[in-house]
Subunit: 505 residues, 2 copies
């Protein structure tokens, strides 16, 4: 191995936006992932795993009009000069997989994927350059019944994670948004940039309120720090129309007929899209989705239409949806806000079609695993705590020349499936006991020369001992009492250790 | 998203040396990984996860005398120009983690890690550019008792995977190899290149036999294809000494005293290392390890000293070990050979020390997950088969305008934890039944207008039906009998589906 370049002693450090994870967090997150997996399987989805590296062109991550990849992805050239990138999400690799294996897959194809994705972006608090997503997608189903299923899956999964009553799945449709744009004269390919500015302005409704969005739709907005964001330059009539549209919040009162409620609610939408065919189609799709969700028992409190949902990605072509956690948290500025989005997605009928002559309809969503994990931590989820697991029984090493004997004691414990280890460091008795404490050991096994000659070992119950220590004030008193420590014959060791474990776990 | 550059329709494909994995393989490998994890935990090891990206210098992967990374790793520059690489193994990231968190970790620190690593090398059959490793390491234990524990862990883990009697853990010590080199005059930093050539020659003993190794130690060797490999250029006396050394194969007969056997076996080694202090130290360490393993009940058939074990990595400083599967397989050339190595490792006392002033002893091993998985497939391991899991119950869609009703039936099944889905495609009845077959459905739910009016559904038992179909010869006969299909009231549907499931799973 080559020597390091920069210094004789390297500084051990991780690049920014990357983190290590220790055993407790891995176990807690594992339980959360397992709950999600079971929920996705119940809906008939099947696991798929794709590699971390793809051709950059398969990810659609080339810069416009340039032969090099977008800076947002980590990229490198293969030995034949073709560009490779670390996957940016789990959707583009699915599209590649489906196109590559089209005839071999059942259609509709329900797939779930779980794994890390990479963003070559500036990291910040809660923003990492490697983070985990958990996705479910249905490919080959053009019906909005598929989108409705995805929304129900989002709701059921959050219920199973113990978040019932603390979330809402908000649904909108890009075609409605397109219809609104058309009605205010923003259609056609030459207006694509302006449309994106409008979508991004609407997307900020939660954060900036109606007045902030009004500025972003019109002349532009200066924030507290003095930074100016260029506006979409719409006239007052257009701005009012958009603000009127996004203010349509569904708020049924009482326990009336919800199907009838939705019929009435969408009745009032048709004005905002005017004569736009696309807009009317979008409203009809959203209406069908709400009827399907209601009929399957997913009420307004769990899944509902919301005109302010936009979703940032450009490739969505129909329904878009977002799961928002509604409980309050305090943000960095000290304000009380809703926890916000933990999952989102939509219909992307063009993505698989990039690889094939015919279009392939598809819809799906992605859970932000780290954000969801933070939410479960905040709500004190019992799922994350799990069942306490004992640390290893530590066999101390008193005479180094008898290490084979100590090793034999360890083997006896392990043979009975008791987590156990030999102390392998070079320190004395006191440090060994400290090590056992640090490892969360339920008990330590001690054998000095006296015990060995008598064919005995000492078992020290560290959990009982810690409790007893609270009531003992002096070292001398401790030595006289030696609470929670007892001698047993070697051939009784395993049975007695099992008793200690049974007492505490 | 930018449009693809090269063609209107992209070819969907993966870069060479990368693969997708489907549900069956993911589940089977998951069971194997779970067995390994439980085995490592029993030994007191704890999970750790590090990110996929590290500073290239932290991996020690700079080319000698050059400021750019080794071609064997995937590398890219960060926005501050520093080089980043995808991890090449799980050992270098552990060394970085331990150095970075030294004071916070218990010592000795027992850690296990599982995940993909990346090699920017030419892929071939069974050689991937992304592959999985499962590692266990003990950091901060200088004693060879730690190396003995690692060897026992390797043996126990293979036992738990159902490979008892089909493996051997072979152990050697780099210091012995160094001693042999010293004895033939190959010591000192200027001979490092020649020593590496000698180690690589010994490493080929299994494949080339003694005569092949003799050529590689001497003038060099031409293989069948005519390619010439340069030799180490040793003289006849040196070659004989090395060949004599690697021929020391431990082969105790009968059930005699194994401790005494090892005493006698190592007695005959001292000659080959001559006066080399290092060599004698290595023999003594290996001897202690064999005594410890024997005392803990790991006999010669499971763990044994073998002078031909070398291990390719340059950073090993003491004991090296390798788990070899001994059952025969047919190689690409049609020859019967042993399956070979599935795991290996050794002591690397210098690796953490690259980051710190004081040395930090460490030892550990790595399982090649894909190779081990292939081995379990070859041996027909029941672990990989697992318990058969039913596909989803498929609710067919006969009248599209009643889709909300079908969705409600699906919701009823899922509420009782029965894996179920709505058919979401656009095809007719026949294609829907074919889809259900393809998904491995235990039964399909069918509701036409007649059944709906009567408040009933048809349950079609697809497993029973497939059996019955074998005894029916004509379509007419089938229609008359309609085996394994029955009507039930809607409110009995869940209970009757449960009966079908209980019958088959």
């Amino acid at each position: 191995m080559a020597e390091p370049k920069k210094a004789d002693t390297l500084k051990p450090r991780l690049p920014r936006g990357l983190v290590d994870r220790r055993a407790d967090e891995i176990a807690a997150q594992g339980r959360m992932l397992e709950t999600i997996r079971a929920s996705f399987e119940l809906y008939g989805f099947e696991a798929l795993e794709t590699p971390f590296i793809e051709y950059t062109e398969a990810l659609g991550k080339f810069l416009p009009d340039l032969d090099r990849p977008n800076e947002g992805v980590f990229s490198f050239q293969d030995d034949d000069e073709s560009w490779l990138s670390l996957r940016y999400d789990l959707t583009a690799p699915l599209a590649r997989h489906v196109a590559e294996n089209f005839d071999a897959l059942p259609k509709p194809y329900r797939s779930f994927r779980n794994g890390y994705v990479f963003r070559n972006e500036k990291p910040g608090p809660g923003r990492f350059r490697q983070f985990m997503q958990f996705d479910a997608d249905i490919v080959g189903a053009a019906s909005v019944a598929a989108d409705a299923e995805i929304c129900m899956l989002m709701a059921d999964t959050l219920d199973k994670l113990g978040l019932a009553g603390q979330y809402v799945v908000k649904v909108n449709n890009r075609k409605v948004l397109d219809g609104v744009m058309e009605a205010i004269g923003l259609s056609g390919p030459d207006k694509a940039g302006q449309r994106l500015t409008v979508l991004r302005a609407i997307d900020k409704l939660d954060r900036l309120g109606a007045e902030g969005v009004r500025l972003l739709l019109g002349p532009g907005r200066k924030d507290e720090s003095g930074d100016f964001t260029k506006g979409a330059g719409l006239d007052e009539a257009a701005i009012s129309r958009i603000l009127a549209y996004v203010s349509f919040q569904a708020a049924p009162t009482g326990e009336g007929d919800r199907i009838a409620f939705w019929d009435q609610f969408f009745g009032s939408w048709s004005d905002v899209v005017g004569d736009s065919e696309t807009g009317r189609e979008g409203i009809a799709e959203l209406h069908v989705m709400m009827r399907l969700c209601e009929a399957a028992g997913y009420g307004f409190d769990r899944i509902r239409a919301d005109p302010s949902v936009v979703r940032g990605l450009e490739y969505y072509t129909g329904p878009v949806y977002e799961a928002e956690l509604t409980f309050p948290v305090t943000n960095e500025a000290g304000e009380t806000v809703r926890f916000g989005s933990v999952a989102g997605g939509g219909r992307y009928d063009g993505l698989v079609g990039r690889f094939r002559a015919e279009p392939v309809p598809a819809t799906g969503f992605s859970i932000g695993v780290s954000r969801l994990f933070s939410a479960l931590q905040l709500t004190g989820s019992p799922l994350l705590q799990g069942k306490a697991k004992p640390g290893p029984v530590v066999v101390l090493v008193l005479d180094r020349e008898n290490i084979a004997d100590y090793q034999r004691l360890v083997a006896l414990l392990r043979a009975e499936n008791i987590r156990a280890e030999l102390y392998l460091g070079g320190s004395g008795m006191k440090a060994q006991m400290k090590y056992a404490d640090r490892r969360g050991s339920p008990c330590a096994i001690i054998q000095g020369s006296n015990e060995r000659e008598a064919g005995e070992v000492q078992i020290k119950d560290l959990i009982e001992g810690a409790k007893a220590a609270e009531g003992i004030s002096s070292n001398a008193e401790w030595k006289a009492a030696r609470p929670a420590q007892f001698s047993v014959k070697e051939d009784e060791m395993v049975a007695r250790v099992k008793e200690v474990l049974a007492r505490h776990f």
